[in-house]
């Protein structure tokens, strides 16, 4: 069941959606969400660009995406209806706030006639609710006044949805009491509106049919509902504990990465030091300083900010300092569409630096996966003394899903001992490499006898002294590249979700936030009779050691990406394999149906395949 809340950005649709999600989560449903914000923060009220929406899919089986087409749409005004109706499933339910459908709003949304009256909604189940007057009536004794009165109408809508979808009411009521502890009248108004909406559902004829969404069957365990940015922040805190290091997060506000800063800055009691720098360059500069000084040092941004950090990532690579660089990708280039997801920074992550500077690149597959990915990125950075780029995107960052909580006592030990004594007869050699990892020692200021200088100039092997020697530059360039390349031996091999005993007719290779859509499409394709396998890459540089061998098992490889074919190019170049792409650059995730259609295109309609067999 896919439900979308849509309204003006001031209508509180994100809150309504999030509360609906929370109630569903506690009910035990599996779920996935997709918020969508207007690009401009102050887009004019009532207009199409001002529409904000929140989509949630709830189900009693494990689901992987926020769903394609909504079954139910809540439209708080004509613009919200106009913008979202085309996505609604045929025969779906539309709940409208009738009082917003006045001439002015209709005109602003570009309607010539009122869709509630002109018959254009005949193919849908239309539920018309005078939400404003009902909300006014409901909150009249709660003490709120003026413009605050109508602010509760999102809770009215939420209450109605709670009844329609058989959601528990207590979580929302308790949330209001908690959230507005200091504004009891607001809490009372929201609760009153919520109950009124719920009761409206019970009492009116129009909405008598309720939908049943039973709790999902998820593996046993304790769950919470988490967004990607929050899971990432928690993962960084966990990584610092696993590394036994203080966490330093130097950053500059940017959509959609800022929530990581917001979350981390709340947790000073974990010893977390967040630093809101004057710009992106200072953000990573401070992070490099913190790494030198002995912290788990992390910076985060989005594409445009990462571009500004590019020179400094090369410095961290050259000096060989451990750093995690988070890139929450958004649609670009330039300012692009800051609130929309895209995977268009992959090649930039691998190659967007001056000089020979290959850095490890990891990608997060889903909101809850951010926790583990953060720990893994930190592990590689510390063990190999290198900056690591960790790719997220807007879909992961703001989307949410149930997360089975890990046992925090079972976190891997990723600590790396600091150097404390000289490592040679000649004293301390800061660039004397470890035989196994090719990494260099980490000696932090304050350690007696290990005083040394590092910098961006090329260094002599072992001593770290400045060197312009040609052979040395070749050696050091090769050593740094080799160090990163050998990480392939220290990461898990890529696993294939294989339909049968033998490799199937098609392998879908993905990375990042396309995970859910690919998985769901593969499941549907298998149900329809296709032999389709799926592999998803956590490691984009270096690739897992077995990737080439895995790819060569398949005659057909499809790589769906929210870019023009970045992984596709890498795979073709690296393995000389004629993989094909499915590429979308629309600022929105794949729909399951899009991937499914491409599978059918490649393998033929399932019926034909069956006939061939």
């Amino acid at each position: 069941m896919v439900i979308r809340f849509a309204g003006d950005s001031g209508d509180g649709m994100q809150v309504a959606g999030a509360r609906f999600t929370a109630a569903s989560a506690t009910f035990g449903n599996d779920l996935a969400t997709l918020p969508s914000f207007p690009a401009e923060i102050r887009a004019p009220a009532g207009t199409l660009p001002g529409v904000s929406s929140f989509q949630v899919q709830i189900a009693d089986f494990d689901i992987l995406t926020a769903g394609d087409a909504p079954d139910c749409l809540v439209a708080m005004n004509p613009a919200a209806l106009k913008k979202n109706l085309p996505d609604l499933k045929p025969g779906g339910t539309v709940i409208v706030n009738t009082e917003a459908f006045d001439e002015r709003n209709l005109a602003k949304a570009g309607y010539e006639t009122n869709p509630l009256e002109d018959g254009s909604l005949q193919s849908y189940r239309l539920i018309q609710v005078p939400m404003e007057s009902l909300t006014k009536e409901a909150v009249k004794d709660t003490g709120v006044s003026g413009r605050d009165v109508l602010r509760s109408k999102n809770f009215f809508a939420l209450g109605l949805l709670a009844w329609l979808f058989n959601r528990p009411t207590e979580p929302t009521i308790e949330w209001c009491e908690q959230k507005f502890k200091n504004k009891p009248e607001v809490a009372a108004a929201n609760i009153a509106a919520f109950k009124a909406g719920y009761n409206f559902g019970i009492t009116t004829d129009a909405t008598r049919v309720t939908f049943e969404v039973k709790p999902a069957t998820l593996p046993p365990g304790t769950y919470t509902n988490v967004t990607g940015n929050i899971a990432l922040a928690w993962g960084l805190i966990a990584a610092a504990q696993a590394a036994d290091l203080p966490l330093f997060y130097g950053t500059y506000p940017i959509t959609p990465a800022s929530d990581i800063l917001h979350e981390l800055s709340r947790h000073r009691n974990f010893g977390v030091k967040t630093f809101q720098a004057e710009d992106e360059i200072a953000a990573i500069g401070s992070t490099i300083g913190a790494a030198f000084a002995g912290n788990l040092a992390v910076t985060g941004s989005s594409g445009p900010g990462i571009a500004l950090k590019s020179e400094a990532i090369s410095l961290a690579f050259m000096t060989e300092l451990p750093l995690v660089v988070v890139n929450v990708q958004r649609a670009g280039p330039s300012t692009g569409m800051p609130t929309k997801p895209e995977q268009s920074d992959l090649l930039f992550s691998l190659y967007g630096r001056h000089g020979e500077s290959p850095v490890p690149v990891l990608a997060i597959a889903s909101p809850s996966d951010a926790f583990d990915a953060a720990i893994e990125a930190a592990r590689i950075a510390l063990k190999y003394m290198t900056p690591v780029i960790l790719l997220s995107d807007n879909h992961i960052a703001n989307g949410s899903e149930p997360w089975r909580l890990p046992d925090v006592d079972e976190l891997p030990d990723i600590s790396v001992p600091f150097a404390t004594v000289p490592n040679s007869e000649k004293g301390f050699l800061p660039y004397l490499r470890d035989f196994e990892t090719f990494s260099r020692p980490w000696a932090i200021p304050g350690t007696p006898g290990l005083e040394h200088r590092i910098g961006g100039l090329e260094k002599e092997a072992n001593t770290g002294n400045v060197s312009y020697d040609p052979d040395n530059h070749q050696l050091m360039t090769d050593s740094r590249a080799w160090k990163v390349a050998t990480i392939a031996n220290d990461i898990p091999p890529v696993e294939v979700d294989q339909a049968g005993d033998e490799p199937g007719d098609l392998l879908i290779l993905g990375w990042g936030s396309t995970f859910g859509a690919i998985k769901a499409a593969v499941r549907r394709a298998r149900n329809a009779g296709h032999a389709v396998d799926h592999a998803h890459l956590r490691y984009l540089n270096p690739f897992p050691a077995n990737l080439g061998e895995v790819l060569r098992r398949y005659e057909r490889i499809l790589i769906p990406e929210l870019n023009s074919g970045h992984l596709l190019r890498l795979v073709r170049a690296e393995f000389l394999i004629p993989a094909i792409g499915l590429n979308k650059i629309a600022g929105e995730p794949f729909r399951i149906a899009e991937i499914e259609a491409r599978i059918d295109e490649i393998l033929g309609e399932p019926a034909q395949v069956a006939a061939r067999r």
């Binding site: 009910f27 979580p171 309720t210 009691n269 500069g285 401070s286 490099i288 005083e451 400045v466």
Partner: protein, 357 residues
Amino acid sequence: MTVTHTRADFQTDQEVRWCPGCGDYTILASVQNFLASLNRPREQFVFVSGIGCSSRFPYYMNTYGIHSIHGRAPAVATGIALTRPDLSVWVITGDGDALSIGGNHLIHAMRRNVNLKILLFNNQIYGLTKGQYSPTSEPGKRTKSSPHGSIDHPFNPISLALGAEATFVARTLDMDREHTTEILQAAYEHEGTAFIEIYQNCNVFNDKAFIQLTGKEERVHNRINLEAGKPITFGPNGEKAVVLEGGEAKIVDTAAVDPGRILVHDPTRSDPTVAFALSRLSHGPYGPTPLGIFRKVRRPTYESLLDHQVATAIAKQGPGDLATLIRSHGTWTVDANGHAVEAGANGAPKAGSNGAG
């Protein structure tokens, strides 16, 4: 812990590669001697630089050091200082590095009052890139990149630092090692950002830029020594004095004014206005120019405020517990049959009590 050091303890085995006669040598010697005098363990010092002639400095200091990116040294040093208040962190920078490409980081480090000692070697020229005009070059200066004369209005670094509300602002001269040492000492003792502009002679691309302050003949007429608690007078026999007039600092004949009107230097004034007025006495080392400490005031350092927040949070909430953190948004439990059986924090309901009745 105290240790006994000599200058040699702070020298590295690296060949110093500045041009012979460069003012950088003198500053290096002053800093090494000064650090040796502190008897503080060598490993507790970190020198961070950007790019430029002066930024080679860390390679010659037997301490911890980073030769970073053009203009970014204050940012890198900030990361060190915020996380390691036990260290003494120094930034070595130049007029191009600090005031051109790195201007943003410089002003923000100063306004935050990060505990950094920033030594800005001002030679009024780009040396490493071989002689282009810099943000402190005088208007009209002819260089390789300004054959018709520079049309850039120069920064006054002291005015800039005061504008950014730096808590310690001083100016000294490479040649005057005694004065340099005095300023270094005061900067070292200061808690917070100490900004020191050091006039540094680049004898290759901008020789004698500071002759008015270093020449035997000239200096007695042009050096205005700022000394706390003393009336500001200068000249061979103190025949010139500084007074405040309509908010501006003015140079007058000492004999012509009531001695009570002569400005008594007080770097500890919390308002930077008078210090700013003094900084406007010269727009470069071309005539009478103040040297010494313009401003020295107390304000909590950024790192002390940050540490205070950490300590307060731990005192109030207890040390962070990861298991609690990941449960802080509410939880529910799924049993072996795949059913949600009980809810955890945030008062989420048990399954079945969903109020649908």
